[in-house]
């Protein structure tokens, strides 16, 4: 197996996640796309850990999973609060800080 096939898979997944964050209008969908990007990073960490024969890659991936869990908890609470205050989760409705 080539090293690059895993890295290119991660890059493709990251690009799909970027597209999701930029193009989707639903706040929950934006959070899901962020999860996609975090998973793309995880696969890079694990594959580089294997490549260099160290366990740190797996440990870093575990930390990223833990931080992603915390992020999605707070993120969904924010989306819920937005829905309660504006009765919408369309991110295009939230332009209060536009100059």
């Amino acid at each position: 197996m080539l090293l690059n096939q895993f890295l290119i898979l991660g890059a493709a997944l990251f690009a799909v996640g970027v597209y999701g964050v930029l193009a989707r209008r639903n706040g929950v969908m934006v959070l899901m796309s962020i999860e996609l990007m975090l998973n793309a990073v995880n696969i890079n960490l694990v594959v580089f850990g294997v490549q260099h024969g160290v366990v740190s890659g797996q440990v870093f991936a575990l930390f990223v999973i833990a931080v992603a869990a915390a992020e999605v908890g707070v993120g969904l609470a924010i989306v819920l609060l937005l829905y309660r205050n504006r009765t919408s989760i369309d991110v295009e409705d939230f332009d209060l800080m536009r100059g």
Binding site: A15, A23, R25, M32, I65, A66, A69, L76, E92
Partner: protein, 164 residues
């Protein structure tokens, strides 16, 4: 080696196709189910990379906990099931261009730098006990920091979401 390549092909096809469907489907519940397929495929890829504990955690935390949170979020925000709210904004061609450019630059630099380097497959295999030894010795301080972060996120989510 051939078997590993075949399984890599199958799993990466599942992951990429599900990810593409996830960001293009019009039904948000379908998007959540496609995300489950992506996460499960990645978990299987971690097994292929001999990272058994990461694979287990992926299934437990992502497919088990995070997806339940997402489904609750979908349910509580009463996201319309169907086409009532157009799911993709008008700026999607620009977003696709940005994503394609980013992916192209990353892939180009990867091919340029790593070329046809082979993955080291005869290296040491780290099992769960090795991972736990590392977490509770070298990375004990970051581990405690993550515990505090999780506590802070828990309290923050409760404070944000409660009604008063």
């Amino acid at each position: 080696m051939v078997a590993q390549n075949i399984f890599f092909g199958i799993l990466s096809a599942i992951v990429i196709l599900s990810a593409l469907r996830m960001v293009t489907t019009r039904n948000i519940v379908h998007a959540a189910l496609y995300l489950v397929a992506v996460l499960a495929g990645l978990g299987a890829l971690y097994v292929l990379l001999t990272a058994e504990f990461v694979a287990t955690t992926q299934v437990l935390v992502y497919i088990g906990a995070v997806m339940v949170l997402f489904l609750f979020g979908i349910m509580l925000t009463k996201a319309p099931l169907g086409n009532a709210m157009e799911m993709t904004g008008k700026q999607w061609p620009i977003a696709a261009g940005v994503a394609a450019l980013l992916g192209g630059v990353i892939v180009y630099s990867l091919v340029n730098h790593f070329g046809s380097d082979r993955l080291v497959t005869d290296g040491p295999i780290y099992r769960t006990e090795d991972v736990s030894d590392e977490v509770f010795s070298t990375y004990i301080v970051p581990f405690e920091a993550v515990s505090v972060l999780l506590l802070a996120a828990l309290i923050g989510a409760i404070v944000l979401a409660r009604k008063d």
